[in-house]
Symmetry: C2
């Protein structure tokens, strides 16, 4: 590609990029990661496979970017739908329990969104057995989300809502990981009532006060 593509070329590129993302996500959802090949993505997107190789070094890279783009689109839709949503994803109204419940309810909506669930599940499954995909999945998809919780819990420590000796990176797992496991492994149903309960148990503990 030239360094500065003409406007028409740029529009064509954007259209190809969208078609490639859509094809990659549809294929991984339908056939799983191992059977999703650059050739199949190119055929479904109606582009030559050299077009894909020119932009991405491997199928893992195409899929991860397609998936990140999907997440950004979903976040943009949610921000449109929820006027109260903070730009960084986790509100800080001063009421920690309420804020965490709001975010976990939105996470439930996102996880079970049909456009998101099947490709997310296929990529997560591959990440369990494929180190490269697993590392990218964690670094690019999970870690940035977890950082938002670390930030919100630190702010709660500043106001005294969370004990100062708590490690926020571990603490967030008390409500994030149960939801992740129910979604990933389908160990039990998920509801808003369930995620609300996780927040209450995590903040107040299981032992009597």
């Amino acid at each position: 590609m030239p360094d500065k593509p003409a406007p028409d070329a740029s529009r064509r590129s954007e259209k190809s990029r969208r078609a490639i993302y859509a094809a990659a996500l549809a294929l991984v959802a339908e056939t799983g990661y191992p059977k999703t090949t650059i050739e199949a993505i190119a055929a479904r997107a109606g582009v030559g496979k050299q077009t894909i190789y020119r932009w991405w070094p491997s199928k893992a890279d195409v899929l991860m970017e397609a998936f990140l783009d999907l997440g950004e689109q979903a976040a943009a839709r949610q921000e449109g739908a929820r006027a109260d949503r903070q730009p960084d994803g986790i509100p800080d109204t001063g009421d920690l329990a309420a804020d965490l419940k709001t975010v976990l309810r939105a996470t439930v909506d996102a996880l079970f969104d049909p456009a998101f669930e099947a490709p997310a599940r296929a990529l997560a499954a591959e990440g369990l057995v494929n180190d490269q995909v697993g590392r990218q999945y964690v670094a690019k998809l999970l870690q940035p989300q977890l950082e938002l919780y670390v930030h919100r819990l630190r702010s709660a420590q500043d106001t005294g809502a969370v004990r100062p000796d708590i490690d926020p990176r571990i603490a967030l797992e008390l409500f994030v990981s149960p939801l992740a496991q129910r979604w990933l492994q389908r160990t039990a149903p998920v509801s808003y009532e369930y995620t609300d309960t996780l927040v209450d148990y995590a903040l107040h503990g299981l032992a009597p006060r």
Copy 2:
């Protein structure tokens, strides 16, 4: 097979069953679930594939039984090694925090046992994208473990160590799911100190008391 095999036939069967389990576990660890076929298991175990079909209706059944057998062998080894271990897997010394920490430390040992980790990870990955395998994985492998925690938390409710309004099936996830997610998705390192911390946070909560 005759209803009552002669002792020699029974010994031969037991030997074949062991060889089939070992072959199935090795193959799923090396090549993943989709490429593990009855034909490949039979070839590696040195038996005819009719021998496998005579005992198990599908490869999912062979693998799940091989895996359950592996878990039972590991549990038996641990029981041999730990004289203080309770038959039901979770001790009840009256000190809930100590008992949960003991069991989670043993779980860490089991999850990272080389004989267990690769096949467990391969089966868990398939369970995320294959409903039949996922349901069997949950029902046969996870659910019986989770029931032990429900039982122990109910006993803690009887003695007042856990609040009576807590739902034990949700409560156990505050310390079980974080470990499961770190192991499955390799989101962060696992240590005894980490699982001890999970128990303390879950019992006492993140908010000041």
